[in-house]
């Protein structure tokens, strides 16, 4: 099985290289340090959530509510700070805690009440967005102090702040998924949940952790997002779930569970971001870019399926 996985990642890595080279050829402004770092900045929010989504999809689940959790956490950050008058530091912590709680609620609905993840998170997608709209009364919160903008706009050692966060989160997630019993439990649940249960794996607890973790990372992304755009809106993160799932699936994670890696997800994200940016720089308009991304996604999945079949999978 690991052989097949490496195959998909190898195919993907080649695709990324071809894309980078091709795009650098099409536009001389693409392959510059400044542009690449800037793209990393723009990719961070989707990237953070995609890391968590990789775990979710490997267990055979899905979390459609991530965009809404991001919106809700962002709104709560503003409300705690401006309306409740808390210090901004405390508001950040509380907003992240609320996001984690929202993720935990997803996990509880899925494990306790045996609701399929697709349905459960479809419901909370609407619920959390509705709460965000209701709590904010559809008003933006603005006027954050300057130090707060460091998270979304600042740099550390010449690299955007959020790229460091994304890098650390990627390494942590890769280690957890690849090298720990928790990671092996994640794969086992996705491969065969019943077998995992009978092998003594704490299936429900593992899932709870994963969904709560997804909420946590979505809320972290929300803080970075608010800092980057300097304002809070209740419609933030709308449609985020689709970008995230596209990246994860392109990265070779099986939507049926049991298969996938963090490296694959990272490559998938890089490929999509590079295409979006590179095509825009070489003069392709927005609608054309979406078409190309759709085609690349289909090709990547087809190639991977063909390889699987030829190996008797």
């Amino acid at each position: 099985m690991t052989g097949a996985l490496l195959r998909h990642e190898a195919v993907l890595a080649c695709l990324v290289c071809v894309a980078l080279a091709g795009l650098a050829f099409l536009s001389d402004r693409f392959f510059t340090t400044e542009n690449l770092l800037n793209q990393g900045r723009l990719m961070s929010e989707v990237g953070l959530v995609a890391l968590a989504m990789t775990f979710v999809i490997i267990t055979g689940g899905i979390d459609l509510s991530v965009g809404s959790i991001l919106g809700l956490s962002a709104i709560l950050l503003g409300v705690f700070w401006q309306n409740a008058g808390l210090p901004l530091e405390a508001a950040i912590v509380l907003a992240i805690a609320s996001g984690t709680l929202a993720g935990l609620v997803n996990g509880i609905i899925i494990t306790r009440f045996k609701v399929p993840p697709l349905i459960a998170t479809l419901a909370t997608l609407a619920l959390y967005r509705g709460l965000a709209e209701g709590i904010s009364q559809a008003r933006s919160v603005r006027g954050y102090p300057n130090w707060f903008f460091a998270f979304g706009q600042g740099e550390v050692l010449g690299i955007p702040f959020q790229l460091w966060v994304l890098a650390v989160a990627t390494v942590v997630c890769a280690v957890i998924l690849g090298l720990t019993p928790f990671g092996r439990a994640t794969y086992a649940i996705g491969a065969n949940e019943v077998a995992a249960r009978f092998s003594g794996i704490r299936v429900d607890a593992t899932k709870l952790w994963i969904y709560a973790g997804t909420g946590f990372l979505a809320a972290l992304a929300a803080v970075i997002f608010v800092s980057r755009v300097t304002t809070t809106r209740s419609d933030m993160g709308t449609g985020l779930e689709l970008d995230v799932i596209t990246g994860v699936v392109l990265g070779g994670t099986s939507i049926f569970g049991g298969r996938g890696t963090i490296i694959g997800t990272a490559l998938g994200l890089i490929l999509i971001q590079a295409l979006k940016n590179g095509l825009a720089l070489s003069g392709v308009k927005g609608d054309g870019t979406i078409v190309v991304i759709g085609i690349v996604l289909i090709i990547a999945i087809l190639v991977s399926a063909v390889i699987d079949r030829s190996r008797g999978g």
Binding site: I135, R233, G239, G286
Partner: protein
Amino acid sequence: MMKLTMAAALCLGLMSGTAVAASAWTGGDDLPTNALACDGTAGAAQAKPYDGGEPANPPDRASKKITVVDIPKLIGIGYFNATSKGIQDAATELGNVDAKTDGPTKANIDEQITFIDNYITSGVDGILFAANDPVAIAPVLKKALSKGINVVGYDANSTPDARQWFVNQAEFNGIAKALIDNMAKEIGEEGAFAIVTSTFTTPNQARWIAEMAAYAAACHPKMKWLETVEAQEDNNLSFNQATTLINKHGDELKGIFGMTSVATPASAEAVTQAGKCGQIAVVGLATPNAMKPYVEKDCVKSVVLWNPVDLGYAAMHVMRQVADGALKAGATSVKAGKLGDLQVINGSEILLGPPFIFTKANIGEFDF
């Protein structure tokens, strides 16, 4: 575990009760309003110093060919197709501008920021924009200014210091007055109405609604506002929201305001399909082509708008003059080709003119 769920649900539920609305009507913003006099006498214009931004070390672009990108809120709708046409018309007329329009397919600020960021990297000379959010768009526009790019807004403003000039299609209180007066004429001074808007935070719509509330309170105090609903700028959603309003309020509902060029025709269609033509008035902002069928059937009597082709045309002329260095801080008017002299208001805004009312008598003369 069950307890935890309950507690969590309760927590989230309680939080939703804390915020308080500031505008009289939902969907309005909480900025101060400035309602016009009921009989339409113009208020005194206040002189205000230039409050726009300046690009850092722009190259000398005077009379040189410049590349300009136009990034509207979204592409593929009639309204922004019309502004885009105006921009192209002006570019052709000027002869030394290479202009193109690109942007997100949904009115989404996240995507719009990414588009602008990419065009900054690709090295354009000028950026024309219509903001999806006045504050969220500011950092990326300031970045453009810091790279020496000329930035001019039209249709939907950003915070003033994030761009150089803004071409204002019509003052908010002027539009608000036109909308409310026409509605009052159609449904009477005591009629009840609802509003279909984009989202509660979209800057123009929020401003208009706040101004409408202020003007109605002063000049038509007995008119009754029922509710405001959000419909993005989505055709299907607007239709559904308008249909829901008709079913929910029954005979009480006498009028619907469409606050976007998508919501107005969709509301008119909803009224038509519900067989309520003549019983429920639709007044709103829309492009004439989309409204012709309803106006010709007498289902809609007044459509309020400015001419978006002129708006794009003016924005392009302003951009050219800014790039040439001809339009500087402190100017009181600006020449905009066939439109003649346009007035500078509010420090760094350029006013296109009073709103235009399309009726059955004149709508046939317009094609956009």
